[in-house]
C-alpha cells in the first residue's frame, strides 16, 4: 500500500523575460514537481514526456521567446500548440507557473468537470489552450493554419510554436503539414520535436523508425537545429535563431530537434519508455519529489 501525503502546490509564479541559461534550472524543476504532483493526485496520465520536455517549456515560456499576457491570455499573443496532446501535464504546469490560472487547479487534472482535461480540450476555456489536441498529427497542421492566417492575411506579426513528439512523426499527416509550412514560406512557424526515442510500445527506432530525422526535416524545407533538449544555452540559441529567421524574413520555417531523455529528473523514470503513459504511485512520487528538490517526510509507521 502506497502511503499518501499532503500535496502542496508552491504559490510561486515566474515572469517571462530574457534570462541567463543557468536561471532556467529552478523554473524547470518547479514545473517537474508540479507535473509529479498533479499526476499523483490524478492517478492516471503521462509522466515521461512531460518531465522530459520541462526544460524546453521553461525556456520557451519564461525566456522571453513566447509573447503572452498571463493576466489576459486571449489578447494579441504568440501561439503555442501542443500537438502531442498527451503531454499536457507539462503544458498545464507551465501555464500555472505563468500565473494564467491558480496553481491549485493543477490538483484537478483529469477530474470530472476540470478545465485540465486528460488531453487538452478547448471547450473548457483554460487560458493558454489554443486548441483541442490528442489525436496525434493534427496540432501541427492547426499551427500551420494559424501561421498562414498571420503571415499571409492578418500580418500582425505573431509567431506560432508547436511541439510534436517523435513517435507522433509516424502519422503521415505530420509531413503534409511540414510540406505546407515550407510551401508557404512560414518563417513565423517553429516546430519543436521532442526527440526522446520513446513511445508506448518501445524505442521509436524499433517500433517504426523516423530516422534520419534532421535530413527529413531539411528535405521538407526547414531550417533545422538539433540541440540537447536539457541544455538551456542550446535551447536559447535555437529559439534566438528562429526569431532571427522570422525577423529578417528568411522565408523558411524552423525545426528544432530537441534530444531529450524521457522522464528526465527522476532517476527511475529516465530514458525508460515504460513511463510514457503512467503516473507515479504515491511512494514513487515521494522519491521523485525528493530528487526534484522538495523534501517529503517519510510516512509515519502505523
Amino acid at each position: 500500500m502506497s502511503a499518501e501525503f499532503p500535496i502542496v502546490f508552491e504559490s510561486v509564479t515566474f515572469d517571462n523575460r530574457r534570462r541567463r541559461p543557468e536561471e532556467f534550472a529552478s523554473i524547470a524543476q518547479m514545473i517537474r514537481r508540479d507535473i509529479i504532483k498533479s499526476l499523483v493526485v490524478a492517478g492516471s496520465g503521462h509522466s515521461g514526456g512531460p518531465l522530459g520536455s520541462a526544460d524546453i517549456f521553461a525556456v520557451l515560456y519564461f525566456g522571453g521567446y513566447m509573447r503572452y499576457n498571463p493576466q489576459n491570455w486571449w489578447t494579441p499573443r504568440d501561439r503555442f500548440v501542443l500537438s502531442a496532446g498527451h503531454m499536457c501535464p507539462v503544458l498545464y504546469a507551465t501555464l500555472a507557473n505563468t500565473g494564467a490560472f491558480p496553481k491549485e487547479e493543477l490538483r484537478t487534472l483529469r477530474k470530472y468537470n476540470s478545465r485540465l482535461q486528460g488531453h487538452p480540450g478547448r471547450d473548457m476555456g483554460l487560458p493558454g489552450i489554443e486548441t483541442s489536441t490528442g489525436s496525434l498529427g493534427q496540432g501541427i497542421s492547426i499551427a500551420v493554419g494559424m501561421a498562414i492566417a498571420d503571415k499571409l492575411l492578418d500580418r500582425n506579426g505573431y509567431r506560432v510554436f508547436t511541439l510534436t513528439g517523435d513517435g507522433e512523426l509516424q502519422e503521415g499527416s505530420v509531413w503534409e503539414a511540414a510540406m505546407a509550412a515550407s510551401n508557404y514560406k512560414l518563417d513565423n512557424f517553429c516546430w519543436i520535436i521532442d526527440n526522446n526515442d520513446c513511445q508506448i510500445d518501445g524505442r521509436v527506432h524499433e517500433v517504426m523508425s523516423i530516422y534520419p530525422l534532421e535530413e527529413k526535416c531539411r528535405a521538407f524545407g526547414f531550417d533545422v537545429l538539433t540541440v540537447n533538449g536539457h541544455d538551456y544555452g542550446e535551447l536559447c540559441a535555437a529559439f534566438d535563431h528562429f526569431i532571427a529567421n522570422n525577423e529578417r524574413g528568411s522565408g523558411k520555417p524552423t525545426a528544432i530537434i530537441a534530444k531529450t531523455l524521457m522522464g528526465k529528473g527522476v532517476s527511475f523514470m529516465e530514458d525508460r519508455y515504460e513511463w510514457h503513459g503512467k503516473p507515479p504511485t504515491w511512494d514513487q512520487a515521494r522519491v521523485a519529489l525528493r530528487e526534484l528538490g522538495e523534501d517529503i517526510p517519510e510516512p509515519v509507521a502505523a
Binding site: G121, R122, D123, E130, T131, S132, T133, G134, S135, G137, Q138, S141, I142, A143, V144, G145, M146, A147, I148, A149, D150, L152, L153, D154, G172, S173, E176, A177, M179, A180, N183, Y184
Partner: protein
C-alpha cells in the same frame, strides 16, 4: 394536385456551391478557401480567380487541409475546404471529429461528387456513406440541398452561420427547379408538396424524383406529401413527426446507403415520436460503379419509380397493420404494369 415546381433546366449542384462562395467572398473579407487540387471540379476555382489572395492551395492532402482550416478558423477566418466527399468527409474523418467538431471551430466543408450520379469515375469516387458519419458528429451542421439554386443559398447560409458545417453536392447536371422565393432555412425541412396519404421525405436530387413519384401517385388518387430535408443535422423533428401523424406512411429517398443516412434519421425520429411504416429508397448496401449517371440511377434503384412503388408498399403496411387507423381509400397494390399503364410523369 400537379407538381408545384417547374423544371427550369439541368444544372449541377456544384455550380451553386462555386457561385455561393463568390457571393460570400464579396460580402466577407475573412472568407478564405482551401484547395485540394480539384478546384475546377468542385468549382472553388471561381473563388480562386476572383480572390486569389484568399485562396490557398494545399494539394492532395485532405487531412492537412481540414486541420489547417481549423487553425485558420481559430485565427478568425471563415475557411472553406472543398474536395470530393469521399476524401473530405471520410479520409479526414478524425480531423473532422477532433480538430473541427470537438474544437467547435468555424470550418466549412464542401463535399462534392456525392452519390452514384458521379458516373464514369466509378465506386471509389461515389461517396455513399458520409451522411451516416457526419450526422453523428456533435456540433456539426449537415446540409444536403436539392438543386443548383438551393445549393447556392445553402452555401451562403453556411458561411453566415457560426460553427462547423458540411454541404453535400454532386457532379452531374440534375433538375433545377426551385425559385428565388422557394423557402430555405438551415434546420428546417420544407414541405414542397402538400398531401395526406403518404409522405415522401427526400434530400438532394431525390427530391425531384419524389415530386415525380407524387405526380404519378396522384394518377391513382393518392396525394403524397413531398418533404425536402435540406438540413440533415440539426434535424427538423417537427416536420417529420407531423408527416408521420398526418400521413401514417413514409418513404425516404436519398442518393446514399439506405443505412444510417436520411432514412436512419427519419426512422429514429418516427420510432420515438409516432411509429408508422417507413420504406427506404437508397443504395442497398453496395458500392457504385462506372456508367452514365442516368444508367446508374436506374441500376441502383434511385428513380421516381422506386419511390412510387415504395409509397404503395408503405401505405399497404399501414392499412393492414394499424387496426382502427383511418382507412384512406382503396390503396392499389403495387404491380410493375401500373407504371406502363399510367405513363410517365410530366417533367
Amino acid at each position: 394536385m400537379s407538381n408545384p415546381f417547374q423544371l427550369r433546366g439541368m444544372k449541377p449542384t456544384r455550380q451553386g456551391f462555386g457561385e455561393g462562395l463568390v457571393v460570400l467572398g464579396e460580402r466577407y473579407d475573412n472568407v478564405v478557401v482551401l484547395g485540394g487540387d480539384i478546384t475546377g471540379s468542385v468549382m472553388t476555382s471561381l473563388f480562386k480567380e476572383r480572390f486569389p489572395d484568399r485562396f490557398f492551395s494545399i494539394g492532395v492532402a485532405e487531412q492537412n487541409a481540414t486541420t489547417i482550416a481549423a487553425g485558420l478558423a481559430l485565427s478568425g477566418k471563415i475557411p472553406f475546404f472543398a474536395s470530393y466527399g469521399a476524401f473530405c468527409a471520410l479520409r479526414n474523418a478524425d480531423q473532422l471529429r477532433i480538430s473541427v467538431c470537438y474544437n467547435e471551430v468555424n470550418v466549412k466543408i464542401g463535399g462534392g461528387h456525392a452519390g452514384i450520379s458521379v458516373g464514369p469515375d466509378g465506386a471509389t469516387h461515389q461517396v455513399l456513406e458520409e451522411i451516416a458519419y457526419l450526422r453523428t458528429l456533435p456540433h456539426m451542421t449537415l446540409l444536403v440541398p436539392c438543386d443548383y439554386l438551393e445549393t447556392k443559398k445553402a452555401t451562403i447560409a453556411m458561411g453566415e452561420m457560426v460553427g462547423p458545417a458540411y454541404i453535400r453536392f454532386g457532379r452531374a447536371a440534375v433538375p433545377f427547379f426551385t425559385a428565388d422565393d422557394t423557402p430555405f432555412e438551415i434546420g428546417k425541412a420544407q414541405v414542397f408538396r402538400e398531401g395526406y396519404d403518404v409522405a415522401l421525405i427526400a434530400c438532394g436530387a431525390m427530391v425531384w424524383e419524389s415530386l415525380l413519384a407524387a405526380e404519378q401517385l396522384a394518377k391513382r388518387g393518392i396525394n403524397a406529401r413531398v418533404i425536402n430535408v435540406s438540413t440533415i443535422k440539426p434535424f427538423d423533428v417537427q416536420t417529420v413527426v407531423d408527416a408521420a401523424r398526418q400521413c401514417g406512411a413514409i418513404v425516404t429517398a436519398e442518393e446514399h446507403q439506405v443505412h444510417a443516412g436520411l432514412g436512419g434519421a427519419v426512422a429514429e425520429v418516427v420510432a420515438k415520436n409516432f411509429p408508422v411504416p417507413i420504406e427506404f429508397v437508397g443504395v442497398k448496401d453496395s458500392f457504385g460503379g462506372s456508367g452514365e449517371p442516368e444508367e446508374l440511377m436506374e441500376k441502383f434503384g434511385l428513380t421516381w419509380k422506386e419511390i412510387y412503388a415504395a409509397a404503395l408498399v408503405a401505405m399497404e403496411r399501414r392499412d393492414r397493420g394499424f387496426i382502427g387507423y383511418r382507412a384512406v381509400k382503396d390503396v392499389p397494390r403495387y404491380h410493375p404494369e401500373m407504371l406502363e399503364a399510367d405513363g410517365q410523369p410530366a417533367r
